[in-house]
Amino acid sequence: MSTANQAGAVIPQRLPRIGNRSKRVLPGFGLSLGISLLFISLILMLPLTGLVMEVSAMSFDQFWFVITDPRVVASYKVTALSALAASLFNGLFGLLLAWVLVRYEFPGKRLIDAVVDLPFALPTAVAGIVLATLFAENGWYGQWLSKLGIEIAFTPVGIAVAMAFTSLPFVVRTVQPVLEELAPEDEEAAVSLGASDGLVFRRVIFPALWPALLTGVALSFTRSLGEFGAVIFIAGNMPYVSEVTSLMIFVRLQEYDYAAASAIASVVLLVSLVMLFAITLWQARYLKRIEGR
């Protein structure tokens, strides 16, 4: 590279990396990165700094007291378990949905493809009210389920249902493109080697989908951790039983206790951040292996 630079003729062997002093092929790196960083700062970092500032006004004992309040801890459990159930359900169902949308041709396919995004478009509060009405004891689903002795509305199960509803698109939309790009030859090769359909899925298709699926599930999980609008209408909001963490934050806000609200919010934020970061790291390692170097 250095001799090429001296000669003035630069033929880059690979895309330049940040920190590489050689001339870049694509112009505007500084400008585009600058604008990106500015917006990340304004939209993401500044509000988060505000949160941290608010929290830092508290002493550690105060902070610890707020976030370990038994009612809040109970809400962590409810939220985490519901979010886990919802994201696992979405992992399964979202994979199936993506599979159907990519692999088969059927009338109405485009329509279903569009409907998948509906939970993103719908105001979450509307979704919450609709779900609460459906699953209430006299609702369309609720009246049948109650005969079977299953209660969904105003229980943690209801919370999971609402969370699953609002975060389904994450899984479908992360898995779908990967599934579309899967080379048919890989499956043909596996089948020509005598593999059964199950084996082809387990050993050829699934390992290729796995990183995307995990990302989808993680996104679904973190989104569920923070879900508020859809959940509170169906949750019943009974202390220690069906209160979610975002409701606890809301309650603190209504009491004008901004510091406490920020403290609880920071816990949710930290968990989400650590999880997403861990998954990104793991995925980078996995993809590095598949894509070489």
């Binding site: 080379a183 030859e185 043909e188 090769a189 596996a190 089948v191 020509s192 005598g194 593999a195």
Partner: protein, 378 residues
């Protein structure tokens, strides 16, 4: 195992990919399916493998009908143009895949599988790369791994879809030789698809030339080259020089070019096909031919000097209106042909297609220098 292809038809929408194709592939031979893109060669290979189903017709292995048999039960090895290696598995895991996919009763023990994988790695000369992932291999290495993977379960039939198509020229040549040795050692019945005539002629025992969903001709490479059945096969196999014109009084002419064709009774349109080695270059016209050409390019690479010439005062149907003549290096050193020189092509042997005939008549002007003593072959 012999392979019988019997009356296979295949349509994709309105496109007739295969048109009533019947073929016999002999046991233990390496057969090439050769044709331009869209000729149906890959479709035929995929139907033989069972990756595609035919609209009608029958496929049999050693007389046993396998038309309805699923690809996984046909026990064939299939090699793809773009390798189709499993990216998340190591080289060793890739090769072991077929063995591990066997039904439990036939599946060898773990140690046995490992031993077989080691053998195959030795065979493809890549034992040091066993733990690498496909992304870390070169194209040639990937294709060797793909080959090893496809023969791990010892299939009797090996099918290869443009196996060297994605490789560069040097690697391609090495791999070709290597495949030939592999075939000779294991005696599969192999079929490979290619659009490269040189590859087909060099590598195979038998060539099936295909065009637009039909089989044009089946023969050994040397026979095929020496006796093409049709204009298409002639055109497709190697460079050919064409003089297309009208026959009058025993002479084929167009513009200021003419060639006497001894013993011809035909009157009207005809095409004379000449291979590069069937023509000499002279500085004066011969008694039996006047084919003035101007030298466009001279290529010294190879065992022969290749001279490209453009017709002077007439036109040719050859590709780009160019004639190609091969002369020896000795001749080159003597004559020193250079770009822009005028030369006369002197045909020694030629192949004449008259009217709508599909079969050519071979014409020889042996010892044709004056006085012309000509004879007609065939």
């Amino acid at each position: 195992m012999t392979i019988t292809v019997d009356g296979i038809n295949k349509r994709f929408g309105k496109f007739q990919a295969l048109n009533n194709v019947s073929l016999d592939i002999p046991e233990g031979k390496l057969t090439a399916l050769l044709g331009p893109s869209g000729s149906g060669k890959t479709t035929l290979l995929r139907i033989i493998a069972g990756l595609e189903s035919a609209d009608s017709g029958r496929i049999a292995f050693s007389g046993q009908d396998v038309t309805k048999l699923h690809v996984r039960d046909r026990n064939i090895g299939f090699v793809f143009q773009h390798y189709a290696l499993f990216r998340h598995m190591t080289v060793a895991q890739n090769i072991a895949f077929g063995l591990e996919s066997l039904p439990r009763k036939q599946r060898p023990a773990k140690a046995e599988i490992q031993k077989r994988v080691r053998e195959l790695l030795e065979m493809i000369q890549l034992p040091h790369l066993a733990q690498r992932f496909p992304a870390q291999l070169s194209g040639g290495q990937k294709q060797r791994v793909a080959l090893a993977r496809s023969i791990a379960t010892r299939p009797k039939i090996l099918l290869l879809d443009e196996p060297f198509g994605a490789l560069d020229a040097k690697v391609r040549k090495d791999l070709r030789r290597w495949l030939r040795n592999l075939h000779d050692e294991f005696h599969f019945t192999s079929i490979f698809v290619t659009h490269d005539q040189e590859e087909a002629l060099e590598l195979s025992d038998q060539v099936v030339v295909m065009s637009q969903g039909n089989v044009e001709q089946v023969n050994e490479p040397t026979e095929l080259y020496a006796r093409p059945d049709s204009r298409f096969v002639f055109d497709f196999l190697g460079q050919v020089n064409v003089l297309s014109g009208e026959v009058k009084h025993g002479s084929l002419s167009q513009g200021n070019a003419w060639v006497t064709v001894p013993g011809i009774r035909h009157q009207g349109n005809a095409q004379l096909y000449l291979r590069p080695h069937e023509v000499r270059l002279a500085t004066t016209p011969a008694a039996h031919a006047n084919l003035p050409l101007r030298i466009e390019a001279v290529s010294l690479i190879g065992s022969e000097v290749r001279v490209e010439l453009r017709p002077e005062g007439w036109t040719s149907e050859s590709s780009d209106n160019i004639w190609e003549v091969g002369i020896s290096h000795a001749e080159f050193n003597q004559q020193r042909p250079t770009r822009g020189d005028l030369r006369y092509a002197v045909p020694e042997v030629g192949h004449l297609f008259t009217g709508k005939d599909t079969q050519p008549t071979t014409v020889s002007w042996a010892e044709a220098e004056s006085p012309p003593r000509v004879r007609l072959i065939k």
